[in-house]
């Protein structure tokens, strides 16, 4: 791995951590303030691509595992890997990889404008679905909720995460417009 890729991955992990520390930002069209840390994870895939995004999230999970309070709300330590929401946390990894893979394909096609936006949004949505599927699987199999209960409980987070996918696609298409493929090292 080149030093530049290593630095980019570390920098993006830092961005994800900082997005978890900043106060929630109000969106113009969305009535509630949103926590932006999971936006950072969607962005890692869309901006850095499959490999960079997955490594960036892996680095984040490593920091969590060694006990640094890098998740939103100052969470960290091994306890979050065995808590009720552990599936969502582990799910960040395939999420970043798959949305990054789709984003790589879309950017390689050299499309611009709304086609680029739609492609990145699609990548973000697929990533969110994978993350939620893993979260529900964990809740249903290891926490003791019934599958139906887990799916219903999960519904609260669906609109917010879809909105985040839309924002991530918007940000991703602006970054790609300004930097081209420089971030996909």
């Amino acid at each position: 791995m080149s030093t530049r890729s290593l630095v980019l991955i570390a920098l993006f992990t830092a961005i994800i951590v900082v997005l978890g520390l900043v106060p929630p930002i109000m969106l113009g069209f969305f009535p509630v303030p949103i926590l932006v840390q999971s936006l950072g994870v969607i962005l890692a895939g869309i901006v850095l691509g499959a490999r960079g995004g997955a490594f960036s999230v892996l680095l984040l999970l490593t920091l969590v595992a060694i006990g640094l309070p890098v998740l939103s709300g100052g969470r960290g330590g091994l306890a979050v890997f065995v808590g009720p929401t552990a599936g969502y946390l582990i799910g960040f990894l395939p999420q970043a990889f798959v949305s990054g893979w789709i984003a790589d394909k879309v950017v390689a096609k050299n499309v611009t404008g709304w086609k680029l936006y739609a492609g990145l949004f699609f990548g973000g949505v697929v990533g969110v679905l994978i993350n939620h599927a893993l979260g529900i699987t964990w809740l249903a199999n290891f926490v003791g909720l019934s599958l139906a209960d887990a799916v219903i409980g999960n519904m609260i987070f669906v609109p917010g995460d879809l909105a985040k996918a839309a924002i991530a696609a918007y940000v991703g298409h602006l970054v790609s417009k300004n930097l081209g493929t420089r971030a996909r090292g």
Partner: protein
């Protein structure tokens, strides 16, 4: 960045990290395999006793982690409503015992020990040419170093918004943070290479 490590070197501090991680794994399998409330109660009692005797700091840290306790409370309440009291007690004991034990492991292990363990685990990967084990330590160091950097970048952009009377919006805040950070990657990578930090690592191996 606060890492609460119980600095009083109790007996648990001297247990090897791999042994602690392995016992966490075994405990989680054990807790999820059983549905007997009495057995779970006994296990949870043992873990609480270990926390009280060996690492009170871990217990304090666990009690302070309110977001984690809150999610456990939500799941337990939901289970109580949908499947009755006994199932709720099982879920409560299982999740709180496990998260308490995980907090004990975190509190009695320093970050340095964790990095050493991860590096050791990555050695086999290095041998087959998949990863450079020392890069892991470098990457963790870089993140810890860059968090304040990204934070000040964010603060500068927020200040610029305030000075111009603009509303904080995701597009006008997050986009400059990301683009500025990506642009600085070249400089940092060149600085690392100029000091041949990674080359030195390769030589030492």
């Amino acid at each position: 960045m606060i890492h609460i490590t119980d600095n009083s070197s109790g007996p648990l501090h001297r247990v090897p990290t791999t042994a602690k991680l392995l016992s966490l794994l075994i405990l989680s399998v054990l807790l999820f395999a059983t549905t007997s409330a009495l057995f779970l109660l006994a296990l949870a009692g043992c873990i609480l006793a270990v926390a009280l005797i060996c690492s009170r700091a871990a217990l304090a840290q666990w009690l302070m982690a309110w977001t984690l306790l809150f999610t456990i409370a939500v799941v337990v309440t939901w289970t109580w409503v949908s499947s009755g009291l006994e199932a709720a007690i099982v879920v409560l004991l299982r999740l709180s015992a496990l998260s308490l034990f995980a907090t004990i492991v975190t509190a009695t292990t320093t970050i340095g020990q964790f990095i050493d363990t991860i590096t050791a685990l990555a050695r086999p990967l290095e041998r087959i040419g998949l990863a450079n084990a020392r890069d892991i330590g470098l990457a963790i160091g870089l993140v810890v170093r860059f968090i304040p950097e990204v934070q000040s970048r964010y603060a500068a952009i927020a200040d610029a918004h305030r000075a111009r009377g603009l509303k904080m919006r995701i597009a006008t805040v997050v986009v400059p943070v990301i683009i500025g950070t990506i642009l600085s990657a070249d400089e940092i990578a060149n600085a690392i290479d100029a000091r041949s930090i990674r080359a030195q690592n390769a030589k030492r191996d």
